[in-house]
């Protein structure tokens, strides 16, 4: 076997130019494919992360009636009990009880329909990235009356600054119209401009006071140790609280789940295209290699090298050729990813501004898991073996007596 390995390895370097061209083709193909896959993964992962941190969390709990009517009178009835349970549960990293109301916000020159979210600043800071995303001002300034936080895109549109006065209007628990004056305490910016456009954050105590019940909580959002625990946690919580509607992030945002699945599908499509191109390239190279060596193969079989050994030799050549290309392609990809690990790729000059409409950051950090490299190596070897079978069979069909006299 050692000699077969030696011969096979040396054989691929007999036509150095052809082998190097093939290796270069595999390298570039893999690098391109892996780079594209890493960008797709980076985008999807980032979208998932921001989606969870800014909008959906891992688990959301509502009164089922609230989801039908969106009226604050349908709050979570046993919030105190639930709060105690969540605090005692190790799976839950953080949670926040919110009050959600639909309303209007008005500045001197325009009025806009918005979601008003009453939050507990401390709990919210642990559960979502609201505080981190603050670009201007303060996170609920203490000495300010009715401080609010609004998104940058809405602030720009309404032409308001820190300290500007805005009027919010909404219905209280008795369906009476309430209007109150608030001041801009801070301006936040997420990767999703549409989210920034429609969500206004207020102190829960302020909002609940105006609504007429200081204890209202209409939504509980929670972060778990790992998003993969979401389904199990949701099921167990639902069993304990059948009166509540408990949903995972994937149920709250099927779009986010779709992005996640799409990332994997794109992976597979890219991988399939790479392997297909690799297989055809290898097939061509190995067939040429066999046809050029008819006389030599005839000699090998004449002197007693059996078919099994000839078959293994051709397969080894295919594997060595593809693995050489795969190794350099993966090394090039790894180095590229390493160099972009911290700075990422700014897609803004390429018109990535519109991506933020869908919740994608303009700077993407390409990433691939190590397991993908291992998986790809296995797939390349598998593709090489499958591709090498045909040329190897061609070699086996040679008649040694005729082949040895071939021109």
């Amino acid at each position: 076997m050692k000699t077969l390995i030696k011969i096979s390895w040396r054989n691929i370097w007999r036509n150095r130019q052809r082998s190097l061209t093939m290796i270069l083709a595999i390298t570039v193909g893999l690098w391109g494919g892996l780079f594209a896959a890493s960008i797709a993964t980076g985008l999807m992962d980032q979208r998932f992360k921001t989606g969870v941190e800014q909008e959906f969390s891992h688990i959301q709990v509502h009164n089922p009636e609230f989801l039908r009517e969106s009226h604050p009178r349908h709050g979570i009835a046993n919030w105190d009990t639930l709060q105690n349970e969540l605090s005692a549960n190790d799976t839950v990293v953080a949670f926040s009880g919110r009050t959600l109301v639909s309303g209007m916000i008005a500045s001197a020159n325009m009025t806009q329909g918005v979601n008003l979210l009453g939050v507990n600043p401390q709990m919210e800071a642990q559960t979502s990235s609201l505080k981190i995303n603050l670009k201007e001002g303060e996170y609920f300034k203490e000495d300010m009356l009715n401080p609010l936080l609004l998104g940058k895109s809405l602030a720009d549109q309404m032409n308001v600054r820190i300290g500007s006065r805005l009027v919010i209007t909404f219905q209280d628990l008795n369906n009476e119209l309430i209007s109150t004056s608030c001041r801009v305490s801070g301006i936040y910016q997420t990767a999703n401009s549409a989210f920034d456009q429609r969500n206004i954050y207020l102190l829960q105590t302020d909002l609940n006071n105006y609504l007429g019940d200081t204890t209202i909580v209409t939504q509980a959002a929670m972060l778990l140790k790992d998003h993969k625990l979401s389904d199990d946690f949701s099921d167990s919580l639902q069993k304990k609280h059948p009166e509540l509607n408990i949903r995972t992030w994937a149920e709250v945002s099927p779009q986010l789940a779709f992005y996640n699945e799409m990332g994997m599908t794109m992976f597979m499509i890219i991988l399939f295209i790479i392997l297909l191109a690799l297989a055809f390239g290898l097939l061509n190279t190995m067939l040429m290699s066999v046809f050029e060596r008819v006389k030599e193969l005839g000699m090998l079989m004449s002197i007693g090298m059996n078919k099994k050994r000839v078959f293994v030799m051709i397969l080894l050549e295919t594997i060595f050729l593809s693995l050489s290309g795969a190794a350099s392609g993966m090394a090039a990809s790894y180095l590229t990813l390493l160099s972009l690990k911290d700075k990422g790729i700014n897609l803004a000059p390429l018109g990535a501004g519109s991506l933020s409409e869908f919740g994608f950051e303009p700077v993407v950090y390409p990433q691939l898991e190590v397991s993908f490299f291992i998986f790809l190596t296995i797939m390349v070897v598998a593709a090489a073996i499958l591709t090498g079978i045909y040329p190897a069979l061609k070699a086996l069909r040679l008649n040694p007596a005729e082949a040895v006299k071939a021109d």
Partner: protein, 230 residues
């Protein structure tokens, strides 16, 4: 002397269903141990076909090839591979060395396929290269050797594993006179020293002149079988 090869009523017919051509026709021959035999005849007389049949590279249409009491005509292909490896050495017209291996690796190759111990292989390969006058070329690849040197490596490879006999199909056809004489001297010496049966197919009078037995084939049949005292 021991009979190494025996053919009985050996026939090979090509295109048997359309226009049958008897490439080998009723050949009954015996080759003794240590013989130095040239198979001669005009082109198309069946020399190469005969060598292929006794070398187990082709199967006869009729008749038998018996080597050391074993009838190889009824062997399966896989058995023939194994048989060739263990019992027969081959020298080809176009040298046919493995270009990616050095001279010593080429000479060792058959022994390697036979799974001989490494030390034995290396010792024997170096010894053979010394015998063919290439002890200074052991680590040289074939593309750095002349045609005559390559053919000497091929001879060393064929004899290194000490086969029962060596078949050489026109071994001097691609060589200049000096290289051909040199090769023939070496083969003649090895034939005597190693007592290995050598059978050539050839057109080359230089080879015929060295042979102690000359078998002439015409239209696939033996027309003359002569012994010379040399």
């Amino acid at each position: 002397m021991k009979t190494v090869i025996k053919t009985t009523n050996l026939e090979k017919v090509y295109n048997s269903s359309v226009a049958p051509v008897k490439a080998v026709n009723q050949v009954n021959l015996e080759f003794k141990e240590g013989e130095f035999t040239a198979i001669v005849g005009p082109s198309g007389s069946g020399k190469t076909t005969f060598l292929n049949l006794i070398g187990g590279l082709d199967k006869p249409t009729r008749g038998n090839v018996i080597i050391d009491d074993t009838d190889i005509s009824s062997m399966k292909e896989s058995q023939l591979f194994d048989f060739r490896l263990k019992h027969i050495g081959f020298v080809f017209q176009a040298y046919n060395l493995i270009p990616v291996l050095t001279a010593v690796e080429n000479v060792s190759f058959v022994m390697l396929l036979q799974n001989r111990p490494k030390e034995e292989m290396e010792k024997r390969a170096k010894e053979m290269l010394e015998q063919v006058g290439l002890s200074d070329k052991i680590n040289v690849r074939p593309n750095k050797l002349s045609g005559g040197q390559q053919q000497r490596v091929a001879v060393a490879r064929a004899l290194a594993s000490k086969p029962d006999f060596v078949l050489a199909d026109e071994p001097t056809a691609n060589l200049d006179t000096e290289s051909a004489f040199n090769l023939l001297d070496i083969m003649s010496k090895l034939n005597k020293e190693e007592n290995i049966t050598l059978i050539f197919s050839t057109h080359d009078q230089r080879v015929i002149d060295r042979a102690r037995r000359v078998i002439t084939l015409v239209d696939g049949a033996v027309s003359k079988d002569e012994y010379f005292d040399k």
